[in-house]
Amino acid sequence: MDVELAPADAPPSPPRLLRAWRRLRAQRKAVAGLAVVLAFVLAALAAPLLSPYAPTDQDFINAMQPPSAAHWLGTDSFGQDLYTRLLYGARSALWIGFASVAVGLAGGVALGLLAGLRGGRTEWLAMRVVDGLLAFPELIMAMAFMAIFGLGLSNVVYALGLSFVGPFARMVRADVLQVKQRPYVEAARLMGVPPRDIVMRHVLPNIASPILIQAGMRVSIAILLGSGLSFLGLGVVPPTPDWGLMIAEGRGFITMAPWISGIPGLALAILLVGLNLFAEGLRDALDPRTRQD
């Protein structure tokens, strides 16, 4: 073979993650979505720097003010600054979104792997548990959970996480069943690879993309459900700044001071659109069926 002809410094093809990132970057809507989400994340992190008020400072003299120079987005019926509460509320929204998906992912992947790899009775049992979880709509299950275990941010996360276990477990199991009978898994066994490494190195990476895509989509659902719970009075407790609470709080004054409900509602809508755009971009970048190359 003619080694001289081969350029020694030929560019190696980049690692998988980098390539996925490049594909993601090539899509305008994904980039736009990511920018929106990042803006919210930054605002949430830098909330104390961006606002002179504390989110729970009450000023009854200046209650229900329309947007002004002192209160950029106005104040609510307690005289709390809406701009400040919006920034801090982004914290709880994002935390609920990502943490509950992480909880659901952990439970769902574990259950799905167990069912898909073990088969037999274990699979039957695991899938009946999943059926049980899926029998309840997400919001109903989360409401029941909150009613039993009490209100609060961390319980919202667990409640929503639990409601996501079912869908994740189903998906992981289906993908595992498909991947585990691929010849390359057999080939790994033929290489003398022990079962644990086959799962971690050969099966999981091949089902990671669809799981990641699904997780991305679920984040926005979780945020919406979390706000819904708070709106219904079954989520975060007042006076914690939370968009769902803010919307509920302003509901009584919707004709006099529409900005109290309208502004957190708008923020919620923008964040959800951003997340969905990003998740769709992620799908297009990772899903082999929509992949260009």
Partner: protein
């Protein structure tokens, strides 16, 4: 005769009570090549998988002896087999596209056995991987190391498969229809490559094939299988050029040859394993079948070859 590397003695493998391999006996000395020939479902691949220790109780019931080197594949503990697979025996799949993990680069594929069985460090793996790719005739190996399977052509993928199977210099290589998924022009290259590499290592190779002409070219010995049994075995050239068993003759006659006037297919189909005739399994399709064939003919030696037929 040199020491036997693969020795199979009265080996029977039953799945759900049905014998998929029935009373198989064969011996493959070190450094020789054997071709397993037969129709689909004859048990060629099953035998190959059993030899790798991938078909074991409780999935299947085994009887008899199946030995690779000094390891009894049928009874060795799983740990021991794992240490053998990929190190002392390697397998080349028919469909390299499916057998390569789409998430792994060529380097990762080649590193897997090297790290696991040889304990090589990252840089040593890389050096060895380059050497292996060079050995299987891949141009510009440096650049191919970082490639994913889908970026390679079919022939290139098969070359990578071969490099993986040979990474730890196995004593026994099993090639399951290594070229049937490839273009004819690439087939000869791949076969020549496998033979050259195997000879360089002094390893034995078992080819699972259905192409008789190819078997004569590449194998020293041939074992013709029909419905889970060996019906004729012996030196490849002799058995396939002057077949004695009616089934082997039928295979010869139905093989497509250049300039052949017409093809002569073997009538009928292989009976289902659950409804095998009690005597000779080929009898229902055999032009020479007689009353004697209700009794099973034993595989008996006739000169250099062995036959299982009452009439040949």
């Amino acid at each position: 005769m040199t020491e036997a590397l693969l020795s199979v003695e009265n080996f029977t493998l039953a799945r759900a009570g049905v014998a998929v391999l029935d009373d198989i006996s064969l011996v493959l000395p070190r450094g020789r090549s054997l071709a397993l020939i037969g129709e689909s479902g004859a048990g060629k691949s099953t035998l190959a998988y059993a030899a790798m220790g991938l078909l074991r109780p409780p999935e299947v019931a085994l009887r008899g002896r199946l030995q690779v080197g000094d390891a009894d594949v049928a009874s060795a503990p799983e740990r021991r087999l794992r240490a053998l697979r990929g190190a002392r025996m390697g397998l080349i799949f028919q469909d390299a596209t499916a057998a390569l993990n789409p998430c792994f680069t060529v380097l990762q594929h080649l590193s897997e056995p090297l790290r696991r069985h040889r304990g090589l460090a990252r840089t040593a793996c890389r050096a060895r991987a380059l050497e292996l790719l060079d050995g299987v005739g891949i141009a510009d190996p440096e650049r191919r190391l970082a490639a994913y399977p889908h970026e390679l052509s079919g022939g290139m993928q098969q070359r990578v498969m071969i490099a993986i199977a040979l990474a730890c210099e196995p004593e026994l290589l099993i090639a399951d229809e290594p070229t049937s998924a490839l273009d004819v022009t690439i087939q000869a290259q791949i076969m020549t490559l496998i033979l050259a590499r195997v000879r360089a290592l002094g390893a034995s190779v078992v080819f699972v094939l259905h192409d008789l002409a190819l078997a004569v070219q590449v194998a020293d010995e041939v074992a013709v299988m029909y419905a889970g049994q060996i019906v004729e075995t012996g030196p490849a050239g002799e058995v396939l050029n002057t077949p004695a068993h009616p089934y082997t003759q039928g295979l010869r006659a139905s093989a497509i040859e250049f300039g052949a006037q017409r093809l002569q297919p073997i009538a009928g189909v292989v009976p289902p394993l659950s409804a095998m005739p009690p005597g000779c399994r080929f009898a229902p399709r055999c032009p020479r079948a007689s009353a004697r064939c209700v009794q099973r003919p034993a595989l008996t030696e006739r000169g250099p070859r062995a036959l299982a037929c009452w009439h040949a």
